[in-house]
């Protein structure tokens, strides 16, 4: 089973080389001659952000877009696609989530409800 657990995860392929503690060449060899992994982002309609939808394998960007259309937008899920090779995505470390996002918690004065104002004050 250890052989299977190479620990490359999508969304953090950029860090994958470290996570797998293998040199990039060895990793490429382990992956064989398979098509690289791409992350797919879909804009569901004009005016909204592109949102992560999933991943797929493709030989190049054009094929990734074509495959993304077939795999992720068979039912009008989107009007625009982004694809990016997964290895270019870097992610924050969940183990550091506490220290990374915590400081915002004790700065309640950043929120409008922190300020006590008379009820007569309108339109604010």
């Amino acid at each position: 089973m250890n052989k299977l657990v190479k620990k490359f995860y999508y969304g953090d392929y950029g860090d994958k080389e470290n996570a797998a503690s293998l040199p990039p060449d060895a990793l490429a060899a382990a992956n064989g001659n398979s098509w690289p992994l791409w992350e797919v982002f879909i804009r569901s309609k004009q005016g909204l952000d592109h949102k992560h939808a999933g991943s797929l394998h493709a030989a190049d960007a054009q094929m990734a877009i074509e495959n993304a259309r077939d795999v992720y937008t068979r039912r009008q899920e989107g009007i625009s696609l982004w694809v990016v090779e997964s290895k270019y995505i870097h992610a924050s470390n969940p183990a550091e989530a506490g220290s990374l996002y915590d400081p915002a918690n004790d700065k309640v004065y950043r929120h409008p409800t922190f300020y006590d104002l008379p009820n007569e004050l309108k339109h604010m």
């Binding site: 089973m1 190479k6 620990k7 995860y9 969304g11 382990a30 098509w35 030989a59 992610a91």
Partner: protein, 319 residues
Amino acid sequence: MDPEKIFQDKIDNDTRIEPKDWMPDKYRQTLIRQISQHAHSEIVGMLPEGDWISRAPTLKRKATLIAKVQDEAGHGLYLYSAAETLGISRDEMIDQLHSGKAKYSSIFNYPSLTWADMGAIGWLVDGAAIINQVPICRCSHGPYARAMIRICKEESFHQRQGFEILLTLSQGTAEQKAMCQDAINRWWWPSIMMFGPNDDASPNSAQSMRWKIKRFSNDELRQRFIDMCAEQVKILNMTLPDPDLRWNETKQQYDFGPIDWEEFKNVINGNGPCNKERMAARIKAHEEGAWVRDAAIAYAAKEKQRNKKPLPFSINLNR
């Protein structure tokens, strides 16, 4: 703090586990096994229906069937991607399927003999799959749960189109009615086996429940399915092939006859009517597609090379 404790606390609080989070190896392995089996089932599941694309009775039915089979390819791909986040490569999964190391749902080892089978597969096989899959939308593993949500949204059309095929046949000629009943008779028992062994014969269930990979037991889900189908079959004016099937007023559910688990084991272990044929078809498709995959890689590498712009201030070191 003990990582296993942090992990279990997250699960107990219904916090999803994401790819970079720490997880016990056993959790990872269980999910790899389950998700890859699930993916393989979607891929092999295309075969019994693919047989009928060229023989669909109308253009509408043909278009529907193509769309359904295409969905199944898509479902397989969502699931393979989810499994890959756990650290197994696509190639390894495909190898495991082809070598027989990884299993797929035993239901796809039965043949699709008549057009009515397309109806029965949609109604019963996809129906059972939906009952199994809806709770997995709340599975503790984020990527698997997200893939499942996508799949369940698409799966409901599969079941409805299947029931519609049977409904049409059930209102047709005597021959069509008989064909409809025959398909139900053949697919009923394998369908209720899709929920897996009885709870007391399913040793890994308890751990999967504790990890919230599984939300309901095999028997609970099977009962839910039988109760639904026993009512739905009345609309078709057909019967389910179980002489012991009757409403139990005290339990407020249907009682049903014993399941032939010997048959189930046999089919899982490779002795079903179509096991060899299905695997041969998959391996053939994979091997005959190899040159396409290689050509795409070679083309991409060539294009990359061609588009490499020379550096603006290049120095010829050979001079």
